[in-house]
């Protein structure tokens, strides 16, 4: 526990504006984008190694997830009819701009990969599209970490170092989970391995993120958000155990896959809510900044090794 710091604020009003991003649009997109991107990588591998069933599941999953993503993103705009303005410029200083261009490239190739597979038409174009989507997929799955961390929202911004790994793990776990859910066990082996490894990365990176935050861990641990994130851990642990131990059973395998998918969604939801909570309370903005100023002042006065924390006036 971090000692309760005293701090000043203007009538308890937040310093920051809470993001206008809504649930389920935005946490849903964080989850679906991850699912789509990692599914496309899985699909490339499955396609090249001749696992037709898994490849089809992953390609169809990617198309479905990215289509829903596009709907969620456009629905979340204040002026949905102007969504095409996203491609008016390209800016590397804006993760949303980078993401829009990634999506504009990825969506059509992921669609083509799925349609060629499902119809059996144009196999060469299908292979090219599959590989193209596989190449862009990791970007789709992870850029969203930069998207939320490149804000002044304390719980997101201060988690910036670990967030991309949480998101990559969560995406891998979701894509593997979908493979487990919809593929018969022998062919689902790479999906199972990816799911288990992804869930492990997600768990470890998430723990590391929260443990490094100090007082800012609170929005991740308190109240409903804390409950969502603990549920995500339980679901992930259950899914991992089921996938490893019950890999030969179609039913256990499918349940494990569903559990991992749910875990990934809950992780994104919890992270989204933690950020919103940290923007709402001026404590999370003022106290860490005050501490930073105090450390800097002491550092300037005493040389290196200033003590952390202390009461905040």
């Amino acid at each position: 526990m971090v000692p309760e710091a005293t701090f000043s604020s203007y009538y308890g009003r937040p310093v920051l504006k809470e993001p206008v991003w809504r649930a389920p649009d935005v946490p849903g997109y964080l989850f679906l984008g991850g699912l789509a991107g990692a599914s496309s990588v899985l699909a490339s591998g499955a396609h090249l190694s001749g696992r037709r069933e898994l490849a089809r599941v992953a390609k169809s999953g990617a198309l479905g997830a990215i289509s829903l993503s596009a709907v969620a993103l456009i629905h979340d705009l204040g002026r949905p009819e102007r969504f095409a303005n996203m491609l008016r410029v390209f800016k590397t200083t804006s993760p949303m701009s980078v993401g829009s261009w990634l999506l504009a490239g990825y969506g059509p190739v992921a669609g083509a990969a799925a349609l060629c597979d499902l119809t059996g038409k144009l196999p060469r174009a299908g292979l090219a599209a599959t590989l193209g989507a596989g190449l862009l997929g990791p970007g789709i799955a992870t850029y969203t970490a930069a998207l939320i961390c490149d804000t002044a929202v304390p719980a997101w911004h201060e988690g910036r170092r670990e967030m991309p790994y949480v998101f990559a793990g969560s995406a891998a776990s979701a894509a593997g989970g979908l493979g487990l859910l919809a593929t018969r066990p022998p062919g689902a082996r790479p999906a199972r391995d990816l799911a288990v490894l992804g869930a492990a990365v997600e768990l470890v990176a998430k723990r590391q993120l929260v443990s490094r935050l100090g007082g800012l861990a609170e929005p991740y641990e308190a109240g409903r958000t804390g409950a969502i994130l603990r549920l995500a851990e339980v679901l992930a642990a259950g899914g991992m155990a089921g996938a490893v131990l019950g890999g030969r059973s179609r039913l256990v395998s499918a349940l494990s896959g569903a559990s991992l998918l749910a875990a990934s969604a809950a992780t994104r939801w919890g992270i989204f809510e933690a950020g919103m909570a940290s923007a709402r309370d001026p404590k999370y903005t003022v106290v860490p900044q005050r501490e930073r100023l105090t450390r800097r002042a002491r550092g300037a006065a005493d040389g290196p090794g200033p003590p952390r924390g202390g009461p905040i006036g």
Binding site: K17, M96, A145, A152
Partner: protein
């Protein structure tokens, strides 16, 4: 001596002859809380009503900056009983004019009974490193030739990214309109050689408009004057370049810590850390790609 302000307009590509960087110096020590700035801003810029309510926050009824509040006057009531003594009345800002005779009661406009008032008119900071502008995916937010930051309303698609990117919570999305709005530093007025509406309306010159280098010099001497007069907490907020936003086009003289006024004590533009974030994203993406491909290719049975 203040350092020369950064030249964000030049960095944005305006040719060398572009106008000097302009901004606001808000000297809260002479603010009387009249809200003329709020009214003038709304009138000139046709900003819609932002809520007619009693907030219980002293005389504040506009609560904070937002899509439809581009100037916000904060009112802080300090009980003298709990807060100790009343600091000496700040010397009047004369700006070269003759000093008016002091008021007969000896008490100034910010002392009422045992309450000490802090009042401050807040506004968009028009940062050198502007988070809102950096993250805007449509190019709706742009840098003007004056070094200010303005939203093009015909381009904004209401994605809302600028809103959490602002470390001051300035910009907001307007209900029923869907687009992001904030102070333009009266781009239309300053382009015609006029001063912004709020500065024009301010009766005490608490809001001063002008070239940033001049304002900074004036602010330095003013804060020194206040400190000499015994206002130990008088401080400049966001003056100079050495802050987390690389300098601001609107800076303040405060009589207490920034957070008392609802301002972040050490704001940092989030995009300063974006290169690191992209590096970690690239590593995570590469890891994901390598793992997924290796797992599906490697162990064929």
């Amino acid at each position: 001596m203040s350092d020369m302000p950064a030249d964000p307009a030049g960095r944005a590509g305006y040719a060398a002859g572009h106008p000097p960087r302009v901004g606001f110096f808000t000297d809260t020590s002479v603010c009387i809380g009249c809200k003329a700035c709020e009214v003038a801003c709304k009138t000139w810029n046709e900003v819609p009503e932002d809520g007619l309510r009693l907030t219980g926050m002293s005389y504040d009824n506009s609560v904070g900056l937002g899509a439809s509040t581009w100037r916000h006057v904060a009112f802080i009531e300090r009980s003298v009983a709990s807060g100790g003594t009343i600091p000496p009345e700040p010397p009047l800002l004369t700006g070269g004019l003759p000093v008016p005779p002091s008021s007969p009661e000896g008490g100034g406009p910010d002392v009422t009974g045992d309450i000490r008032w802090l009042m401050s008119s807040d506004v968009c900071k028009h940062c050198t490193e502007a988070g809102c502008l950096d993250v805007c995916p449509t190019g709706a937010l742009f840098r003007t030739e004056f070094g200010t930051v303005v939203v093009q309303q015909d381009v904004c698609n209401g994605c809302g990214y600028c809103i959490p990117a602002c470390p001051f919570g300035v910009i907001g999305r307007r209900e029923g309109d869907g687009r992001a709005w904030k102070c333009t530093l009266c781009y239309d007025r300053i382009g015609s050689g006029l001063e912004p509406a709020c500065a024009k309306a301010c009766p005490t010159e608490s809001i001063q408009f002008g070239p940033l280098d001049e304002l900074r010099e004036r602010a330095q001497s003013r804060v020194a004057e206040l400190q000499r007069a015994g206002n130990g907490k008088a401080q400049l907020y966001l003056d100079g370049e050495g802050n987390g936003v690389g300098g601001a086009g609107a800076f303040f003289l405060l009589l207490d810590e920034p957070e008392v006024y609802g301002l972040p004590p050490d704001p940092v533009v989030p995009t300063r850390d974006l290169p690191t974030m992209w590096r970690h994203v690239a590593l995570a993406a590469a890891g994901l790609a390598a793992t997924a491909v290796a797992l599906s290719l490697g162990r064929r049975r």
